[in-house]
Symmetry: C2
Subunit: 444 residues, 2 copies
Amino acid sequence: MPTSYSISGFPEWSPEQRIIEKRVIEKIEESFRLHGFINIETCGVESYESLIKKGDGKEIYRLSKEGSGEENLGLHFDLTLPLSRYVLERRGELVFPFRRYQIQKVWRGERPQNGRYREFYQADIDIVSQGELPSHFEYEVPMAMCDTLKSLSPLGLGSFSMHINNRKLSEGFYRALGIEEIEETLRRIDKIDKLGPEKTEEILREVVGEEKSRACIELAQIKEKDPLAFEEEIEKICARWNISKGGEEKSLMLEGIKDAELVLSALRRAGFEGACIDCSIARGLDYYTGCVYETFLDDNPLLGSICSGGRYERLIKTQKQSYPGVGMSIGVSRLLSYLFSKVGAGRISPAMVLVSVWNEEERWRSDEVAKILRGRKIACEVSPTSAKIGSQIKRADKLLIPYVWFVTSQGSEVKDIRSGEQSKADPLSWEPDPRYAADIIVRE
Amino acid sequence: MPTSYSISGFPEWSPEQRIIEKRVIEKIEESFRLHGFINIETCGVESYESLIKKGDGKEIYRLSKEGSGEENLGLHFDLTLPLSRYVLERRGELVFPFRRYQIQKVWRGERPQNGRYREFYQADIDIVSQGELPSHFEYEVPMAMCDTLKSLSPLGLGSFSMHINNRKLSEGFYRALGIEEIEETLRRIDKIDKLGPEKTEEILREVVGEEKSRACIELAQIKEKDPLAFEEEIEKICARWNISKGGEEKSLMLEGIKDAELVLSALRRAGFEGACIDCSIARGLDYYTGCVYETFLDDNPLLGSICSGGRYERLIKTQKQSYPGVGMSIGVSRLLSYLFSKVGAGRISPAMVLVSVWNEEERWRSDEVAKILRGRKIACEVSPTSAKIGSQIKRADKLLIPYVWFVTSQGSEVKDIRSGEQSKADPLSWEPDPRYAADIIVRE
């Protein structure tokens, strides 16, 4: 992957790669809009206090200025915290449930040696309610994301699997076992993907002891595509660990199971065969309270989750009112690092035509042709030089501009430099071949 | 103007305002592409050393992290410095002349009490050459910008005037007078717009003395739309200050005059009547070497220049090679503060249809209709509740969604909530009224 990191950790793309990035963002945005999400953009900074409350200080970029020193500002590291502030500030004017999308860069000062980006695009959708949030949103948001990821298949995105879990399920099970350190247990279980079950069981033992640690790992290993098979697995594990049917903990578990199954069946009904309930999905963030989601590429699971999120109850709140929500985020830059191997740019310049220049005295003729073409929404560039026609064509060739226009006082001709065909053309009526409009080429 | 500044100096728009911002950016981008400019995006940071070399330390945001302290990174304050780095890093792979556009946020820690934004969008085009840069680019870039600004007239942008000057003209004149402090003189002349001629003459006296100061102010007051009248004015001022015809300084002046006139006549030929040569345009930045440009709105000159730039010779260079360029930048956020008073959003949600829900058990029916509509690229939202139809319609009304869809097991009906018309509809073939596609309304 020809990635440039002139500033360590801050990726920057070539013009060709940027075409792909732009196209990916456009596709994502189109899908978000089809699902009725409203666009907002928040500023790049948040108060440093609010950032440090939710994030890791070692990864937060704080701002300072010569003369005034450290400011009470830092760069946002996600789009959830900004959403939370935005919703609270505008709660009097927004229409709830508020469906918003936001596609922006975020910054995290992670160690570049981990191969992580320090600046990257996220594409988020959230539905935020005032007061109650019905559980159908817990399938509507992942459904919108599945539709969105599917819409990227013409850009090379292969099949993917969305893994669903529910915090109530895990918490109910942990509590039924007598575990009280719910958050810490979730945080350690979240590492199972990287560490494997043995190592995770080991680090979990320090918190909950040997037996409970084994039970937690057993739960985390339940992964089913079929709701009935999933229920059977749950019955078995409850029997094995003596979790009674009646308890409060068990009913919390059952709520979680119901909500997770609702998502699973909605996704399967919509044809997303890759959907499954996966009890290892914990999500490190402490604000999730219901369903949680992670999404993996079938042909590149090691890339990690490309689209994650969950339901939160108390992340956005005033003293009097809470604003529960469900949100998911696509890691666009991470996705790109994968898509760059699947697709290439079929164009470099957006120009469809290079208008050649006969000599500098007659450059105005070429300018006039260009003006007419642009007025008809045909992108073009006037040749930078009036040097030999061969060298003018060479520029079109290098920039993958399909046509070269020849202007004389007697009229115009246009040459398709790929086929070599040349014919008379009137700038007022000429049309380029529509197949040249494509600026993305899927490899192999 | 309903602007929110929850973080002082960092503007953030309402969903309706964001629609306008997005549309403005799309229009600008479309025009840049029609002119054959290639898009790039650079990261938000630059090395602090390179920033401090070109900018004011008090306005540059430097980054720091807990534990590691101040980093050698700061937020970029324009898109020219990043371009310069990008071009040098990729000089082996780019095709020169390199025509690039870039639309991104930049950050400047200016005092918010000046009404300046600390975070704002710039939209830049530059043409960068390797070695020589022919002077026709000095009209091509401002011409592309005039076309771009004109393309914003459906969004409320009124007529504008592009003011052209040339550094060689000013420098030749100053040198002919015997002034050696060229940069300092230009920097002070640049203030004439804000301070007026008397006050500027005063502050200029400290540098060049009383007589030369008067001469400089006289030159700065030359402003002509007609090339012939302009040449006459220049002849007169040269005669008045005894500037001989033969000298080296005079020939520098003449070069500047020729290049400025080339731009003026190209813009006038293209129908931009507002173009003029204005010898007060100095541009504070020291890297300009040829034509310089500023653009003012005829109905709001106090907004200041909305689109500025110029030619630079030695801004981008290696030890062996220089990369001269011409570039201009639109201050998008400044423009927006003006456009918000001219246009409003005709939509809030991108949804064309709110699919109502009869009861929660039958929500799946509404989901299916929504799926079909989305597959046909008709944006829609499924009602968040199955409450009384009246309250569902109310949501559509608040979000300016034009249609409400009613789903029953017997079939669908759709209601245009503006006209009140209701009729049978098939999600596989129904089409919305095309006039509802407009999401911008021009006021008055």
